[in-house]
């Protein structure tokens, strides 16, 4: 299926950029005239994915986080958050709620939040090459 519109943004894996990443996605999605709740859900999911890229993907070095947003018919939005970091050895394990390698200040809820706040979450990863998280959500127009 061909995207009706798309945007790309990339930025350094500096944690101060987490806010920029989710705000950029939300700004682009605003053309769908989404409800505040739907937009916040996607903003939250993107924040989780971007944080994972920064905290886990690039845990040992700075790198670049790449976000692509594609809009399709019927209010379908697909957001892909990609890093070229260390990759995830066991995706199934990483997606278990409460599992974290991030220390005790991390709740281990990132993937659970993405799954709960989006229609679907797809993760592909290769150790040493990076991780890609694809978030899909349908946006109904404001009533």
């Amino acid at each position: 299926m061909k995207a009706l519109n798309q945007a790309q943004v990339c930025f350094s894996s500096n944690s101060v950029n987490e806010g920029f990443g989710r705000a950029a996605v939300a700004a682009f999605l605003s053309q769908l005239d989404p409800t505040v709740a739907d937009l916040t859900d996607m903003k939250t999911a993107v924040s989780e994915a971007v944080t994972n890229a920064i905290v886990h993907g690039y845990k040992d070095r700075m790198g670049t986080v790449y976000i692509t947003v594609k809009l399709f018919e019927n209010g379908k939005a697909v957001v892909r958050v990609r890093d070229k970091g260390c990759g995830i050895p066991d995706i199934e394990k990483a997606m278990e709620p409460l599992f974290t390698t991030g220390g005790e200040e991390r709740a281990g809820l990132g993937f659970a939040v993405m799954q709960s706040f989006c229609d679907s979450v797809r993760v592909t990863s290769a150790v040493g090459r990076g991780t890609s998280v694809t978030l899909t959500k349908h946006f109904g127009r404001k009533g």
Binding site: S15, V16, E18, G19, R22, A37, T40, D41, K43, T44, S47, E48, T51, I54, V55, E104, E105, R106, A107, L109, G110, A112, V113, S116
Partner: protein, 105 residues
């Protein structure tokens, strides 16, 4: 500053301001813990009225403070949660470890 602290009769209130993510949670945590460890309040009140957005880093922030206050048998109360923050708090099952004051109405 994204945290305003006030203390009265054993209750330490932390009013939080701005979006909470992995980046901002670190500063908030340091500001709260510095004072909480000195005062050892029996109640730490986290006021989210000034927080328009929070991802799961906010859950880590709450759980970490519950753990900290547990060292001196203090407890944590959350208030001022907007609907989208309440959704995150409910998803994480925070009600099991901290009291939640729901907004009226």
């Amino acid at each position: 500053m994204n945290v305003q602290l006030s203390y009265k009769e054993g209750v330490l209130t932390a009013r939080l301001f701005g979006e909470i993510d992995h980046h901002s949670a670190k500063e908030m945590r340091e500001a709260i813990d510095d004072t909480a460890q000195k005062l050892k309040p029996y109640c730490l009140r986290l006021d989210f009225t000034g927080v328009p957005f929070m991802d799961s880093s906010g859950i880590g922030l709450i759980l970490g403070r519950v753990r900290l206050c547990g060292f001196w048998r203090g407890h944590v109360v959350l208030c001022g949660l907007s609907p989208n923050l309440a959704k995150m708090v409910d998803l994480a099952g925070i009600a099991g470890v901290a009291a939640i004051e729901r907004r009226a109405g």
